[in-house]
Symmetry: C2
Subunit: 313 residues, 2 copies
């Protein structure tokens, strides 16, 4: 049995745990992100102590970061973490931790985690799609992580899915503007301004404080405006998923991220719409599923990166 | 020096030539497709004879087909060649030719050819996009051909790029319906019905006989309706190319196929529009270029498949 440390760095918190080579997670630790490098080191030591193992048995530490990892320079760029503007994270951590360190993007970690121990177990062609405040994808094709020439492959929030250009498309990308959490809230506010909706009350009478979470809650209570806001979002999101299917012909697309808390409402409509848009053979071959690992996918993927450095190619 | 036979099977003709390991083509042969298997064998023998080499020095024969090659079963499906509905082409050819045979899709051959000896030479992340009566892509990511779970990766004619569904999208895919050769002709006919255009005369007074070639010719003569038809097509095509750029972050996208005969008119507008739509870093990193190999890319790619069987891995 070999062990690796998996660390998933988010904008708000850092999760860490020791995982064994069977993919079992031993005692998950969470700390606030704060001064991120110091907190990673803190979380790493806590996780190793909590797992009751010694650093000697840790093969390596895998770190998933919410941004871009530049494989050639070892640098990291993560817009949501203050100061992480091309910092040599790998070198900094290796100087302070008694283990080899492997870094990659959270997208990469999530798809690796899903393929290792999640619902996509063993499939050589898998895409993980995170839909939250943003939209991004981790891609494994032919068994290998797809990184792209500049390590930023998977920026599907920028998929062009509507020729009627809007100003916002230039800031977030077209698909993200139409299908991420903020788009759900924006649509719901537009609708709630025109038809009666319980969302207005949920938001304390203020349209601009309607959140995607409120929309989902209202939709569960059959609020018509909320349902419509979700339907209109599904219409765009399905176009993006269909594009992944037609281009990559994967066995599975795994959906995660904040908006997929409403996955039970969204999955069937998404499947129907993907069948309408995608290349028909690829559309019939692909399985569209919700993550069952949730945030553990990131921890497992980070550990997997550490255990099998070569997987990251 | 080692040699391979490259054979590019099209709906109308079969091209064949011996290529050496430096990527030099020796005497290209063309025969009509007709009874395709018999004609491949005929073309193969002619090409070997024309190159003045013996079959003994031929490492293998690579065959590019206009359809799907199922790597697992060795079968071929090609809708434009009568009878090629899951035929065991590789086995049939190996039984009749004195060489090992390797088969793959023309998309795969074209991108391999461009990466081996074309403008994308040496790049590990390259997409070849053919825009003609249809639209399809060959993809190399991380140095490896992307095939997908069912060997049909690259079906970008099915990219969803306009949420306003049309009936035709279900037959050809959305992007192909809006951006392939027939779309150019259809748009031009619509426009020529409303404004004076020399295209009507070129088409013998009949709107429905306007072809994409006529549109391109008229556009070169500054015909306003023809220009507009191309502009509207570029708007959609750029969305599809931008989607490749955002998703795969390639060093280069190479454009070929019939419509790219008008590449000099289309390339700059396409580049501008891709910058508008794609993920900004990826959009600045990518080079969008026209093929300079033309149809030789298929022959070279087929030979490359034969020389380095493992590349197709």
């Amino acid at each position: 049995m070999s062990y690796a440390l998996g660390i998933d760095v988010g904008g708000a918190k850092i999760a860490a745990s020791v995982a064994d080579s069977d993919g079992k997670i031993h005692h998950k630790i969470k700390v606030p992100t704060g001064n991120a490098v110091a907190q990673i080191i803190e979380a790493a030591h806590q996780a190793v102590a909590a797992a009751s193992v010694s650093w000697d048995v840790i093969t390596a530490a895998g770190v998933a970061i919410p941004g871009i990892y530049y494989a050639e320079t070892g640098q990291v760029w993560a817009p949501n973490i203050p100061g992480w503007d091309h910092i040599p994270l790998r070198a900094e951590l290796e100087a302070k931790l008694p283990a080899r360190v492997v870094v990659d993007s959270d997208r990469a970690a999530y798809v690796l985690g899903e393929q290792w121990k999640g619902i996509a177990q063993g499939f050589p062609d898998v895409v993980f799609v995170a839909v939250g405040t943003g939209i991004g994808a981790g891609i494994i094709t032919g068994g290998k992580l797809c990184r792209g020439a500049g390590d930023i492959a998977g920026a599907i929030g920028w998929f062009a899915v509507d020729p009627r250009k809007k100003e916002i498309y230039k800031q977030t990308g077209c698909l993200e503007a139409e299908a991420a959490g903020p788009a759900v809230a924006r649509r719901a506010a537009d609708l709630a301004a025109r038809v009666p909706s319980r969302m207005l009350e949920m938001a304390g009478g203020c349209l601009t404080t309607i959140t995607a979470e409120m929309v989902v809650e209202a939709a569960r209570q059959n609020d018509e405006a909320a349902r419509q806001a979700l339907d209109q979002t599904v219409a765009y999101l399905a176009m993006g998923l269909a594009n992944l299917v037609s281009l990559l012909n994967p066995q599975m697309v795994v959906l995660g991220g904040g908006l997929m808390q409403a996955g039970d409402l969204l999955l069937e409509p998404l499947r129907r719409e993907v069948l309408e848009w995608a290349q028909p053979i690829a559309a019939r071959q692909v399985r569209l599923e919700l993550t069952r690992l949730g945030e553990d996918a990131g921890l497992l993927g980070a550990a997997r990166l550490a255990l099998e450095d070569h997987v990251s190619g």
